[in-house]
Assembly symmetry: D2
Homo-oligomer: 318 residues x 4
């Protein structure tokens, strides 16, 4: 079944929040996401009453998520397959910025005080999106190069299921459940696999980026809104420990952790497990081949947990 | 007011769970904690119906916590002062162990796969607690030294408030809200200060250790049960960012993060802030003095976030 | 001038060892390298008397280097430009292996003891190099996929100058001076720029890899021998702090450090410096552009220092 | 034999530099060290001709070392025991400072660019040493507390032997050979054990600190000069991998590495090895006891490699 879903509620956490829709394995959802600060395709801010709120606590109103979608038949110990069928940018602007205590070459994560240096100054960057030609344009008034055009490659910054142990975290944190991985690999044509930790899976997503470099080093990408089409399937009785991805060329695993080396290790060890358990490689031969043909991509090094995606070319699978 | 509180419910998360008791600033609570696996002073396991449960998710039933205690008048932006007046061990045994994929010299944290080595073997260690003489005794059948007696120094392994952003995590994770810091500094005579992130603060605690070395390197301490007496006060309008501690000799800050160096930085930078904002030190003079007289203590390097406590001797305060 | 140089001496360190040849800016050197264990194009081990030796110390006889080449006119504060004009594999085999305490998913670096796990078992892998078709072939007797063919992409694993402060290190360690970076970017067609720390620069190189994945995760690549053609130029009065690289598509910087995140930071901050000082970008605009179009590549995460290469596409330069 | 040795040459590197004196196992050396910038007990700077120099390279003239002392009979595979019999401060001043890109809460290590923040300002601090009362005094003109007196606890900041593989590094870097560990444990009454990597061992030392807090967080301690008395013994045929220390209360191991957690692991795993190989503990029982009674001390988190000393109380040895 195909659902055209118009969000009326946005959450700032991954977890078993009240579902916005129940769907079944095999269904498709077409919906729209807002940007990381909550602006929609018209540049209108989502009104506060449509966002997750609590009068007794402080919410960090970043990365509003569409969902959670409750998937009927998804049980603990299953795997949720989410095919990203389409990502269509629906706005002609994107923003980016430099923030005082955020980004890879200062204190990295908001709320940490690690330095005695004065904080960075705030800078806001406006990008124009030429959707017809799939190009992002920025003016650089203070540089010799005054204007730059870059190709867009839209992807979903935040996508995941309810985390293990029923915990609920800010949508800025990625983990075993996916989340705010900010990996350019979560793009149109990729199928993602998530572990189902909670009955119903509780799939949520948002924070589409029109383009981004490796590591998301300034802390943000070309932040914008989009229409997203996802097809969801439940793989019964299949247990995985970390998000897996697949496109035409690669099988991939996402490791989300800190320090960076731990994210790197998680992604690669899980990928070796995958090669062994599903493709019949012996453990040390899998390590050898991955050592010589594997590539990896650093998604973000700014969020509360970093992201590394380890990639194995499908052409070497049996 | 002084409450003698008998727990009838244990939670596995820090956060705004349904409060077990409402108290006011200035009140004292006397209660009992169970050990990290849920065994009480009689060696009886807490029955499952008394623990946090959900039929739709998997709970990690470790570190059952007493609480949360809702503190009337504690608002966002206040500080909660918790004086540890007494910790009385109430059982003559404690356990410890080596686990296959847990501990500082293997994969550290459960649920991470970082290594291709075979996992460690499981080993269980039984300690006898001579409460009269405050001594822990262990048999070491495979070593030249056949028996060892060590002094006990009981402390609360897990103590904290509801975290920022309303998130709820496993009780194994420490953070800005305190939590499973496993620091020997959270002992009798110490007053802890927590940021109030949620109205009511939602204080929870448990996981008393009879003794522990720096870093909790095998992954666990002398795990046991205890009677704990805490006096709680609300400091209105005082904002702190990380847990602070104070005993007769030191003011201290706990940094809970990964990698270890980040926990170290957080603890020290917040301690410098404290010296500047409350004790009138100029920033660089505070750094200089802390550089020359400060000490620090590594609480744990095995939990999902590590703990470092930075210490400044009170005798150097104005 | 073009030198056809036949090595008669191999060093295991980067530094001001007795030069094997003096050349001038603009000269080209054609020479041959041996593999990481010292085997040449005939599969013959370099005799011990041709390697750096000392009767009073232990040398780690890994990564024998050709050179050092003393470059006339290269002074402290200059930059040495080394164009990799050709890398021709000259042997039909390469080896790889798994070692007990070496590699990304065990203790990483030889000589460190970080784990209580039993070490990995030793495994040796033989690759056949089909030089005509530029293909590497491996038999995988224990896997379902019995044989694999991969494209070769030869590069120089170890290349660098004498380090700062006159120190001499094992050739296994990369640093500001280049060294054993094990980055696939040091390939035919790339020009490398090294800071000149010592009069004469003392260029050395070796350890050609026929192919390798990102991170060199098992600890070694397709280790083999090669004929290498380098053109050397001195850029007078130009100071750089870390190795820079340039090919047809990218300007790049290599960061060599530990932890991995520090290598990442070094590479990117130096690349921003480059964009600002030579291409007229304002600092925050440089950060913004690099954030959105930059890519990075992890060279090794197994050597005493790790390697990250940050890349900026030349098409966005003014 | 007891040597009263007056230095006429200072080196900036650990390694097989030309020995200043040959001694035998059992000998004692009394000599004087200068401070980290080269000032002696009279506040006079060591003239450049008395320091290690090279016209072809840049030396970083920090931490001038006395030595190397060639120890007759010390061969590869032996252990060098160095008893610190006396450290007598011989100057009534010490200095400390804040440097722009150095210290734990900014870029840590000189020569790394990790941040986009503006560097810290430079600040110089003068300490008066009251040697009679063993007190250090500092004026704090900008703080409410105007003056502070702290007890002195002199120790040797840099002490080590020639490193493995014949490499020579700046004296600012610690490693398996000891070096600039900046650990307060290298104090009067401590015996240090170093692996002999090079025939003759080549013991060097300097950089006495009058006092220092854990981590040496601002980058420097109370930097001063001293008279030092060391007794040297060769332990034949005993192989150790990292520096070991022993005083009246503890056996200890120093781990020198980066990241901080790696230094922590090295120190503790080597200490477990020591407990097993010399004191008859079974491996897992050793881990259990160290987990419960071990302490550790962070020496520095500012040098090119950090220092952690793991400590085991002697009273628990058989």
């Amino acid at each position: 079944m195909k659902y055209e879903f118009t969000p009326s509620k946005y959450f700032f956490t991954f977890g078993p929040n009240p579902p916005v829709l129940e769907i079944s394995s095999g269904d498709t959802v077409v919906t729209t996401t807002v940007d990381a600060r909550g602006f929609d395709s018209f540049g209108t801010l989502v009104p506060e009453e449509k966002t997750q709120r609590s009068k007794n606590t402080i919410f960090r109103n970043r990365n509003p998520l569409v969902g959670p979608f409750f998937i009927r038949g998804a049980d603990i110990g299953d795997t949720l397959a989410v095919s990203i069928e389409r990502i269509v940018l629906n706005r002609e602007t994107a923003w980016s910025r430099v923030q005082p205590n955020f980004g890879s070459f200062t204190e990295e994560e908001l709320g940490k005080k690690l330095l005695l240096n004065e904080p960075l100054e705030e800078r806001y960057f406006q990008w124009t999106l030429d959707l017809k030609n799939n190009i992002g344009i920025i003016e650089l008034p203070r540089s010799r190069k005054k204007k730059l055009e870059i190709p867009l490659h839209p992807f979903i910054g935040s996508i995941g299921v309810a985390p293990r142990f029923g915990r609920i975290e800010t949508s800025l944190t990625p983990g075993e459940y996916g989340g705010n991985m900010d990996s350019p690999e979560t793009k149109e044509g990729t199928t993602m696999y998530f572990p189902v930790f909670v009955k119903g899976a509780y799939l949520s997503f948002g924070d589409v980026h029109a383009a981004q470099g490796d590591g998301e080093i300034c802390g943000v990408a070309l932040e914008t809104s989009a229409e997203v089409t996802l097809r969801i399937n439940v793989v019964k009785g299949k247990i995985i420990d970390w998000p897996r991805l697949e496109d035409k060329e690669y099988i991939m695993v996402a490791g989300n952790s800190k320090p960076l080396m731990e994210a790197f290790k998680i992604a690669h060890v899980e990928l070796i497990d995958w090669l062994v358990s599903e493709y019949g490689f012996e453990k040390w031969e899998a390590l050898q081949i991955l050592s010589q043909v594997g590539t990896c991509r650093v998604g973000n090094v700014v969020d509360p947990k970093y992201n590394v995606v380890a990639k194995f070319p499908k052409k070497y699978l049996p």
